[in-house]
Amino acid sequence: MQRIDRLGALLSLVAACALALAPLVVLKANRIVPGQPQALLDVLPAWTVLLLYGVLATAATVALRVQAPRVRLVVALTGMITLALAVATAANDLTPEGNRVLRVAPGAGFWIVMIALGLLATDALTRLKPGPLLRVVILVVVLAALLAALGSGFFDDLSIMREYAVNATRFAREARQHLMLALGSLAAAVMVALPLGVFCHRQPRLKAAVLGTLNFVQTIPSIALFGILMAPLAALAAAWPALASIGVSGIGTAPAAIALFLYSLLPIVGNTVVGLARVSPATVDAAHGMGLTDWQTLRQVELPLALPTILTGIRIVLVQNIGLVTIAALIGGGGFGTFVFQGIGQTAIDLVLLGAIPVVVLAFSASVVLDAIADLTRRVPR
């Protein structure tokens, strides 16, 4: 007898409960009131609903019984696309022409089933063990498809897209600011942390002191660190107007970038130290024996061997920074957090999601890309 797939059983059970208990579509009289659940059968033609449930049932069956990862992947993706189309169609049908107040939002049921299908797809992908380059290609294709779908206008009646339509210009600006803060602080941190890591490796006595200090920095809650930086930076800017004129001030980009930079140091320094320590002493001895200087040994032997570990540290930092930038909105740093905090202030959950979802997508993408790069360096040691 065929064995039942455990992950498939769990996901099917969760999705089934979600479908039974939580609505797929919620109708709100305006954007800040709680919504009323809508039965899909009241909104969509019966055959569409049947088709959707058919696809979902097939996905559940496959998740339970079929082991072939390709089949599982195809079924999961089909399920996600069908569900998204069904909810978008419902939104189009529920929204009267020209009505700008009524909101149709995906309900809890939608999100849970979507996540279950997403996990099924991710699991299938992992079982297929694609190479690093293929993983990046898949990511690009998925993102492109997502952007094309959202750009097509078919989803425009969904509540989050309505928030986007209102905030489109600001969205682009905040996205740029978000990326700039996350990547800029990362770049600065790499320039400082890499030499610092090498230094710590060479001077074990310093290692404890440096790592201890960085550990301490890491434990300061982010909002507190932003707050701590405000006063000294404002004082600096007041004392030297020249500094103020290049953008150093108590609020905005400067304290956000500095806080992110500080948080970035520990993972990179730590991983550099660990990566270098893992290079076997025999290898280093051999390099010296061949007449390489210390600097040559570091550059041509130790660093290349430690690179995958260092890249893992950089990946941690990038994902962490993309998330942390959200808080920067509280001190005028901008980024997607602006939408999150404005949304909380207006109790407009769709505006919160407009800020939160891109952050999740960005962090996920950054993680996949850097993982792939780390894998590539592991495979082709120079």
């Binding site: 209102v166 407009a348 505006l351």
Partner: protein
């Protein structure tokens, strides 16, 4: 390496110093709240329409952040509320804050003396704390003012109030109870975590747990949409929080015409017009910039052709 950095810093400093103050655009900013962003956008668009270049830095943070940004010169102008000056200058109990004109005069004087910040013309509408009741309840019990409300409570009216912990425990509610001589039992006060007015208004609109009274701001956009009636503070118990644009003196000296441009705009606001405008942002989800532009065109402050 060190020399390289020296050169870099020098280059940046030289670059930064080449911009002259006179040609610099006015940096208009606001707090996170939708009302301050909306009025901020109106001022910005109006300045642009008068040929003054601006930079849009709306919604950069909560009050302490925006205030700090103004004091440090990072922004040039934003919309403050008159009563807040009581907290800035650590004299919240001064009776002047309860009167629009006296509060404005006092705040304007203190801010100019201490920080060289000029208060422009205020709006004649207060965004202070207030209570709002469901329209059906108000009609049934003939409630229009806080005095009516107090009479209703004393007669044993079934009041259930939704408010924030701050409102219930800090001075606001106690002060109202004292001035109007009424008392709410603990079971009549439901404290909502977070304490946003959108939540309290929502609870009253949905009659959650029998809630029929909500803590609100005077110009809250949700009041009309949720069909609540704002109770008039007829004994002027609460400090007045009238929106007032404040600007750095140095900027105003460079462009003195700003004061005259902003005055008629601020004077055009009433509590009802701000409520309706806020509702378009908070409830309908329009962007504050679009609502601001619409208002300026509809009221003739800028000609339709000059809009976006």
């Amino acid at each position: 390496m060190a020399r390289f950095f020296q050169a870099l810093v020098l280059a940046i400093l030289l670059l930064a110093n080449t911009t002259t103050p006179a040609s610099q655009p006015v940096v208009v900013s606001s707090k996170l709240s939708s009302e301050s962003a909306m009025i901020g956008q109106m001022i910005r668009l109006l300045l642009e329409a008068h040929g003054i270049p601006t930079v849009d830095r709306m919604a950069i943070g909560a009050t302490p952040i925006v205030r700090k940004a103004l004091l440090s010169g990072e922004i040039d102008l934003y919309v403050e509320y008159t009563g807040n000056a009581g907290f800035f200058f650590n004299r919240p109990d001064d009776p002047a804050w309860k009167d629009l004109q006296r509060g404005y005069d006092l705040g304007a004087r203190l801010d100019l003396e201490a920080n060289r910040i000029v208060w422009l013309a205020p709006a004649a509408a207060s965004n202070s704390w207030a209570l709002a009741v469901r329209r059906d309840v108000a009609k049934q019990n003939r409630l229009a003012t806080m005095s009516d409300f107090a009479r209703w409570v004393r007669e044993g009216g079934e009041v259930i109030l939704a408010c924030s912990a701050e409102f219930a425990n800090a001075g606001t509610l106690k002060s109202l109870e004292k001035t109007y001589a009424f008392h709410l039992e603990p079971r009549q006060k439901i404290v909502l975590a977070g304490g946003e007015t959108a939540a309290t208004i929502g609870a009253a609109a949905a009659r959650t747990n029998g809630i029929n009274t909500a803590m609100v701001y005077g110009t809250d956009g949700g009041i009309v949409a949720a069909d609540l009636v704002l109770l008039e503070d007829d004994k002027h118990d609460q400090p007045v929080y009238a929106p007032v644009p404040i600007v750095r003196e140095a900027v105003l000296k460079a462009r003195p015409e700003i004061a005259g441009i902003v005055r008629p705009l601020m004077e055009s606001f009433t509590r009802e017009s701000l409520q309706a405008l806020n509702a378009r942002v908070q409830i309908d989800g329009e962007s504050s910039e679009a609502v601001a532009g619409d208002y300026l065109r509809a009221t003739g402050f800028i000609r339709p052709a000059a809009g976006r």
